[in-house]
Amino acid sequence: MSWLILIPLLPLGAVLVLVMGKPWLGEHAHKVGIPAVALSFVLTLVAFSLVLRDGAFSIPLYQLIQSGNFVVDLGLYIDQLTVLLLVLVTGVSSVVHVYASRYMVGDPRYNRFFAIIALFTFSMIMLVMSNNLLMMYVFWEVMGICSYLLISHWGERKSAGQAATKAFLVNSVADVGLGFGVILTYSTFGTLDIQTILSQAPAMENATLNLLGWLGLDLPIRTVTLITLFLFMGAMGKSAQVPLHVWLPFAMEAPTPVSALIHAATMVNAGPFLLVRMSPLVILSPAAMGVIAVIGAMTAVYAALVSMTQVDVKRILAFSTIGQIGFMIMTCGLGAFVVAIFHMLAHGCLKGFLFLSTGSALRAVEAHGHSVSMVSDHPISSPSLWPLAGGVALLACLPPVLIFSGPYEQLWVSQQFFPAQWGFWGMGFLTVFFTALYLFRGVVQLFHQPRGQGFGTVGSGVSPRFFSPIHFLGILVVLGGTGFFLLLLWKGFVEFLSPAVGHRTAVMVKNFSVLGNVPLLVSIMVALAGVVAGYWSFSRSPLCTFRESRFGRRWYVHFLNKLYFDEWYEAYVVQPTLGLAMWSWKVVDQRGLNGMIMGLANLTLGIAKWLWRVVDLKGIDGLVMGVGRKSVGMAGWLWRVVDLHGIDRVVVGLGQQSVGFARWLWRVIDLRGVDRVVVGVGKQSVGIANWLWKIIDIKVLDKNVDRLKEQAEVAGDAIQEVEPRTLQHHLLVMIFWLIVGMGLLYWFAVGE
């Protein structure tokens, strides 16, 4: 059966082909996507039949993580719940693919669109097939990023970008809960394999965890409650439950086929799916189930009231989805997991149909760029009205019939909590009433607007060819919904699904009877009352006058503004966060930490400068300069006073006198006396010199010198012959005797 791995692999292959083959595929992208998803749908049907015959089975894939004792083995787990959701996912996705191939014609990012919806389909398939909480978390997030990319498909519009960011961020807040739930599950059970967890869950029923111990509080909470609540937090985000619903109405910025995928396939249904998948664990914690039921009911009533006040068709559709999912969450909280799945399938078919049939009108809205109050008057609306009306009736009547048919009340009563039963009835009927009311009203509004008010002429841009999938879905609604229910396949459905939702729930559903069931009749009456109220409100009767009253108007305005959730988040979450970020960056980081470090640096620099200026310049330099200046001053004084005044004058005076004396000397002695003597002596010496030269120099000295030269030559030869050492020896001896002689001389001299 491992070939069933092709169910997710086919869409994944389509993604790869589309991404790699982008330059070649161009406008033919749908020719890759459609066959892949359609084949996957066919395989899903085969898987369905296999599960019907043999029950659940699993296909191991590979080991994702192995770190010590933390081992995550990925694998596909296919049971009754999986195949039902697979049928929904691949069925809706195939139809959406076919529809989009016409709807998106001419889009500049045609290829990208098909790649992402294939990836979206792949992640939905993997989500429902996960055998492992971590794997589920992974594809939960991949689905989130796909929706981000699809919502921002027409990203040139500012609102599309904002809507996409908002969708992902709201979900990522919720996913903190989911992620923490996964971690908590691991640290409790030591594994992330879902089936192992579910089988071990009853054993852990009474384990407690003191989450706030670090605050010094002793507040042990049952671990199963904590895990369920944290997982449910993730579900609240993805399934748009109050107060995390704000992203879904804005997600309408996506192209209509994407909205169909988000609303009809497993994107928003992921929350109920998660609860149903974990149902054996969830049912262990009545407290968590109470929270789940209350939040679901609150969402359902809230969305019903809001959608009645809205005029924008996209908002009506979005809030109707929120409300329906709220209803499913509530049924999960009441323990009616099977009902939730049944409801989910019916709602998926219906919502897919609604989106695709209003798609062309919606496209006209997109083309016009303004929202309109009503979409109607389109040629296609009348023929497809009947299956639609059937689907609405089914949706409105089905859940109460099933929930209040008896067994689920027992679950609540058995919790030994008296108000629970009243809460169950009160909440249940309120929800049933409003859901029936707005569903009927909303749908009738969509399709029965008098002609002329809409824009039938504008919406003709889409060729009629692509209405066939709508008819297909319509038929699916009729066959799947009314068929299932009216032919009383419900019991078979319960039989089929009960292995997947745990023993305890299954037993309760066993004793089911339609007739003679008072709560059942009451709930049908309530639902019918809702339908009637819807009709009234549509045809300007009591509800409209209620709207005119002062009290009514106030509430009308509140709900028209969706109870100001968006504004509240903007004012108290988004802006403060951004403000805190800016403030902490400017003050803490730049001025504080950076300032501290830079201050330290500046301090060092300052100290250095002070040292330089004060100590170095003023101190040492000043000292040196002072000394210098003093010495210069001293020198100046010395020069001025001593030198110029004293010495100079003396010198000058002396000078003057010596000059006079010198002049006298020169004139009297030099010129007259000495000069004459010298001249006389000069003349005589010249005569003597001539005589000396002639006689002594030439005759005597010259000869002697010549002789001396000869003797020196002889002596040189003699010395050359003497051995150098002997010469030194002689020299030393000579020096010795010289010294001795000189010593004797000295001694004699001193001695005397």
């Binding site: 994702l64 192995q66 933390f70 971590l134 594809f139 990203g155 992620g179 691991y186 966060t577």
Partner: protein
Amino acid sequence: MTTLFTEHLLSLMIAIPFLGIAMIACIHDQEWIRRVAFGCTVVDFLLALALLSGFDFSNQGMQFVERMQWMPTFNIQYAVGVDGISLLLVMLTTLLCPFAVLCSWKSITVRVRSFMAMILLVEGAMIVVFAALDLFLFFMLWEVTMIPMYFMIILWGGPQRIAAGIKFVLYSLSGSLVLLLAILGLFVEGGKTFDILMLAERTYTPEAQFWIFLAFFLAFAIKLPMLPFHTWLPDAHSEAPTAGSVILAGVLLKMGGYGFLRFCLPMFPEASVMFAPYILWLSVAGILYGGYMALAQSDLKKLVAYSSISHMGFVTLGIFVFNNHGIQGAILQMVNHGITTGALFLAVGQLYDRTHSRAIQDYGGLQKPMPRFVAFFCLFSVASFGLPGTCNFIGEFLVLVGTSFESYMMVLVAMGGIVLAAAYMLWMLQRVVLGQPRTPAISQLSDLSMREMATVIPLAVLVLWIGLYPSPLMEMMDSSVTHLVQQMAPYQANALSELVFK
């Protein structure tokens, strides 16, 4: 031949960048300088693959060990070797450096030779830092990495480059100072040797542990950087040229994390356990704080830089919970952060090359003119905030699983950091990629060229591959980490942390 090759493989890897520097010193043609530098980095990466193929995963000790006496008087030797932890970081270093060369092909036109030499120098130095088995060698090359980074910032950087460069050097030097003190202290306490393996086997007195741990911690915390010591990082990252940012964020920061794993934990287990609670809270604070800071940025590079601080918080968080999951997660987080943040800096650099602006408000509507760029940019951005299916998720998730054994509160707070990460990344994407083009010039931008595609495709493949099939990486470090955890185990029983958490 083969034995000779494997015996000296690490030294060969270290030598090749230096040989490359010598080669480009002799070349005059700029184009050939680039080619040679690229060739050297690629060869180094191929050698790293050879290292990987010869690595014995079941062996927890050091492999490919080479020892040589260097300064025998002080017992200093040239000793290198890798275990599972350092192998991954060496791989990361050699992986990112070719991209650093490729991304500066067109954007660096002046002083090409010195720029390429800087890249090669820092690559060689980082390989030694990750492979060093001698404390002195480690310290010396630790210092060497700082120099090329400084010059890359001040010579080829942005408008504020001088201030950023000086800040970087001042911080690094203060870190080095305490590191030097720690090393000297360890030398004295550890029996006058610089051999890391021998030092790791000794036990130290509690007082010595306290002080030396503190000094080591301070040095590594500055490098990593941890919360109060991070202010050098945004400036240095944003002012550095693209290649500088890639190397800085991709590899250089990891030296801090590596230091914790190589020195703090095995050498001072008691001090580590004692300080752990404070470090863990500091890490968690850093995760949130970095996220908040990134949210406030109007400069693309600064946004990525602050996100690094947040991611590094996960690294210290994982290391100081002292269990397999945490430490493996932390190492994976280091590798993944290197890949995703490196890729983000590459992408921002590609934008900067076209418009010469880093301001977020100057962009918008890039989806239309640059679809290919946008696809990769989105992938790296979502990987950066840890989208499941991309690599960062595995690291962060493992760290969180590891942390959950210590304190659930910390897990919740750290997960808040992931929400913040999604917020700043998606908000940035919304302003840069979606919407209408800010100016007509934006809508005329050209899409990625083949060379630019070549820089981002391998990283994109790695992001998805590690995200979907991380087992090979985990297997690589498994035995080394297990060994480390076993070393720590006896000291955790009497941990101070019991008083602080639970």
